[in-house]
C-alpha cells in the first residue's frame, strides 16, 4: 500500500473503516486540492517575488502599496481582478478548444507534482518509475499550448504555439538525456529512492558524483529546463517584443491566469526535479542539520533554483528561433549524449 495512504489512515482512523476504493478516492481528492492550493499560493508568491526581484535589479521598488509591507497583497488583488474580469472568447475561434486549452496545460504541470517527494513520508504517489513519469507527463503541456494557439484564430498566437511546440519537443531530449545520466548514477527511477541514495553529506549529492560529469549534466538540465518552462533566454513562445504575447495573446481573465499558473508551477516543477535528482531532495547537507524538517530543505533548494531562473530572466536577452534550435540540437544534445557515455564508462570501470 502507498505510504501516503498509511499516513492518512494513521491520522484519521475512521478512513480505514470506509471501503477501500472510497478511502483512496477521498485521499486522492484531498491531495489534488492540496496540490492545487499549493500551486496557487506558490504562484501568488512567485509573481510577487519576481516583481520584487526584477524591481530591485532594475533600480526600482516594485509593488509597495497593497497590503502594507512591501506590497505583499498585490498579487492577491491582481487575482481578484482576474477573477472578475470579462472572459472574452474571440468570435471566430474554435470555442471548445479555446476554452479547454488552459486546463490541458495546467493539468500536465499539476500531474508532475504527484511524484515529487517532499519529505521522507510525504510523496503523493510513490511510483517506481517516478522520473520517467515526470518526463513523459510534462511533455503533454505542449498539446495545450498548441490547442490554445490554434484555437485563438490569431496569427501571433499561432506563431507562438508553433515555436513552443518546436522548442519543447527539442529541449525534451537534452532534459531526458541529462536525467538519464542521473539514472545511471543512482540506478533507479524511483524519486524517493533517488533521494535516499544521496544521503550523507553535501558531497554524496548526485551533483558531486563522477565529478565533473554529473555537474555538467545539471548545467545542461538547467539550461534545457529553462526552455521547457519557456523562460528567458528561451521565452520565444511568448516573446512580447515579437509576438505580442505569443500563444496567449487572445486570452484574458482567469483563462489567462491559468496559463500563468502553469508557467509558475512549471518553474517550480523543473526546479524541484533539479533539487531531487541533483541536490539530495529533502536531505540536509550535513548530518547535524537534520533537525530542520525535510520539506524546508526541499523547498529551500527548489526556491533557490527558482530565484536563479528569475535572475537569468532579468539579465539576458532572448535568442532567435534558429539559434534556439542550434543550441538544442548541436550543443546540448551532443554534450548530454557524451555525458551519458562518460558516466556509463566510468560506472563500468
Amino acid at each position: 500500500m502507498e505510504p501516503i495512504i498509511k499516513v492518512f489512515f494513521n491520522f484519521i482512523p475512521a478512513l480505514a473503516d470506509l471501503p477501500n476504493w472510497l478511502a483512496v478516492t477521498l485521499i486522492g481528492v484531498v491531495l489534488a486540492v492540496g496540490t492545487f492550493l499549493y500551486i496557487a499560493v506558490f504562484t501568488l508568491f512567485g509573481v510577487w517575488l519576481e516583481r520584487k526581484i526584477s524591481a530591485h535589479m532594475q533600480d526600482r521598488l516594485g509593488p509597495m502599496e497593497v497590503g502594507g509591507w512591501h506590497g505583499w497583497a498585490q498579487t492577491i488583488a491582481d487575482t481578484i481582478k482576474l477573477l472578475i474580469k470579462e472572459d472574452i472568447v474571440p468570435e471566430k475561434s474554435d470555442r471548445f478548444l479555446y476554452k479547454f486549452a488552459p486546463y490541458v496545460v495546467f493539468t500536465a504541470v499539476m500531474a508532475a507534482f504527484a511524484v515529487i517527494p517532499w519529505s521522507k513520508k510525504f510523496i503523493p504517489a510513490n511510483l517506481n518509475v517516478g522520473l520517467l513519469y515526470i518526463i513523459s507527463i510534462s511533455s503533454l503541456g505542449v498539446i495545450g499550448i498548441l490547442m490554445g494557439g490554434w484555437a485563438s484564430n490569431n496569427k501571433w498566437s499561432l506563431y507562438g504555439a508553433m515555436r513552443s511546440a518546436a522548442q519543447m519537443v527539442s529541449y525534451e531530449i537534452p532534459v531526458s538525456l541529462s536525467l538519464i545520466s542521473v539514472i545511471l548514477i543512482t540506478g533507479t527511477l524511483d524519486m524517493q529512492e533517488i533521494v535516499y541514495r544521496q544521503s550523507g553529506t553535501l558531497f554524496s549529492w548526485n551533483i558531486f558524483h563522477y565529478f565533473p560529469f554529473a555537474f555538467l549534466a545539471f548545467i545542461i538540465y538547467f539550461i534545457a529546463s529553462l526552455a521547457e518552462a519557456n523562460r528567458t533566454p528561451f521565452d520565444l513562445p511568448e516573446a512580447e517584443s515579437e509576438l505580442v504575447a505569443g500563444f496567449h495573446t487572445e486570452y484574458s481573465g482567469m483563462r489567462w491566469a491559468f496559463f500563468m499558473l502553469s508557467e509558475y508551477a512549471n518553474m517550480f516543477v523543473v526546479s524541484a526535479i533539479s533539487a531531487v535528482v541533483f541536490f539530495g531532495g529533502w536531505q540536509a547537507p550535513f548530518g547535524f542539520l537534520n533537525f530542520i524538517p525535510g520539506p524546508i530543505w526541499f523547498l529551500g533548494k527548489a526556491l533557490i533554483l527558482v530565484f536563479v531562473q528569475m535572475w537569468i530572466r532579468w539579465t539576458l536577452p532572448r535568442l532567435r528561433v534558429d539559434q534556439l534550435m542550434y543550441t538544442a540540437w548541436k550543443v546540448l544534445t551532443p554534450f548530454s549524449f557524451a555525458l551519458v557515455l562518460f558516466i556509463a564508462f566510468w560506472k563500468v570501470l
Partner: protein, 387 residues
Amino acid sequence: MNKSNLPPSRFELEVPNKLKTEEMTLSMGPQHPSTHGVLQIILKTDGEIIDSADPRIGYLHRCFEKHAENVTWHQVIPYTDRLDYIASMNNNLGYVIGLERMMKLEVNERAEHLRVIVAELNRIASHLIALGTYGLDIGAFTPFLYTFRDRERILDLFEEICGARLLYNYIWVGGVAYDALPGWRDKVLQFCDYFLPKIKEYNDLLTFNKIFIDRTANVGVIPAELAINYGMSGPGLRGSGVPYDLRKIDPYSIYDRFEFDICTGRGEMGTVGDCWDRYWVRVAEMYESVKIIRQACEAMPDGDAKETVPRNIKVPAGEYYMHTESPRGELGYYIISDGGKTANRIKVRSPAYSNLSILSSIAPGVMIADLVAIIGSLDIVLGEIDR
C-alpha cells in the same frame, strides 16, 4: 543573416500531395509592442522568414506643415517640439537657426553655448532611449530601466533650465527662452562625470553580451551604397561606415569650435552596417557628446542669454534650407517666407522617414525576430515620420 544561408523556401520545394500552400500575410502594428509607435508593417511570411515587409505610415499625422503656415514664426517652435518628441531641443535648434540665417541675426555667445549644451544633452537622452528600447526589442528588459534612470537626470537638468521635461520650447529666435541659473553648469559637469561610468555598465550588461551580439551582428546589413541611395543619415548611415555628420561637414551654431570625432561602424562584431554597428555608433556618440558638453561648459561665457528680438518677427522674403544633425540624422527645414508674419511653407526633411524607407529592401529573407531588431536599430520616431 542573408538569404543564402537559409533553407530554401517552402515554395521552392516540392509540396507533397498537392497541398495548397501560400504565404501568410501578417499585419504587424499599428498596435504592436515593438514598432516604436503607431507604425504598421504588412508582412508576407513563409513560416518565420519574411518574404516582404511593407511599412504603412500616417497613423500619427498631425498636419505640422499646414499648422506652420497659419501661426506666427515663433509659434511654430512648440510644433517643432512635437516632431521628434524625444529630441525636441534638436528640432528647435534646426528651425531657429534656419530663421536666424534668413534674418541674418547674430546670437550672443552664451546663448550659443547653452544651445549646444542642451542639444547634446538631448542627443544623449535620445540615444539612451534608443539603447534601452533596443534591449527591450531583443528581449532584455533591465537595460531599459537603467537607461531611463540616467535619462531622468538629463530631464531634471532640462526641467531646471526651461521648466519642461519633454517638449521644451527652449531655443527661441535670437537666443534661448531662459538663461541658465547659477550652478546649472556645474550640475551639467557633474552629470558628465556621473554618466561616463554608466556607459560602461550598459556595455557590460547589453552591448557585449553574447546573446545580444548573436542577435544583432550580421543582421540587417545595410551596405554603404544602399544606405546613401535611400538617403539614410545619422547613426543609420554612420553605422554603414560613412563618416557623414553635419556637425563636422557643415557646422552650424558653434560646433566648429569643439573637438569631437565622427563615429562610424567598423564591423567589429560582424559585417559593416549590421544592427550591432548602428547600435554601437549610438553608444560611441554618447562619449562624443559628453566631450562636446564638457568643452562647451568650460568655454561658456557669463552674460545674458535671453533672446533680444521681439516676439512678432518678420522674416525677409526668400527661401532657405537648414539642415542639422538631430540624433536620428539629417533634420532639414525648408523654409519659404514671403516677408510676412507667417511662413509661406515649411517642409521638413525627416531623417527617420528616410531611414525607415530602407526597411522593405533589407527585410526579405530575415526572420521576424530579426525584423524587430532591424526596426529597433533604425531608431524611428513616428512623430517625426508622420509629422
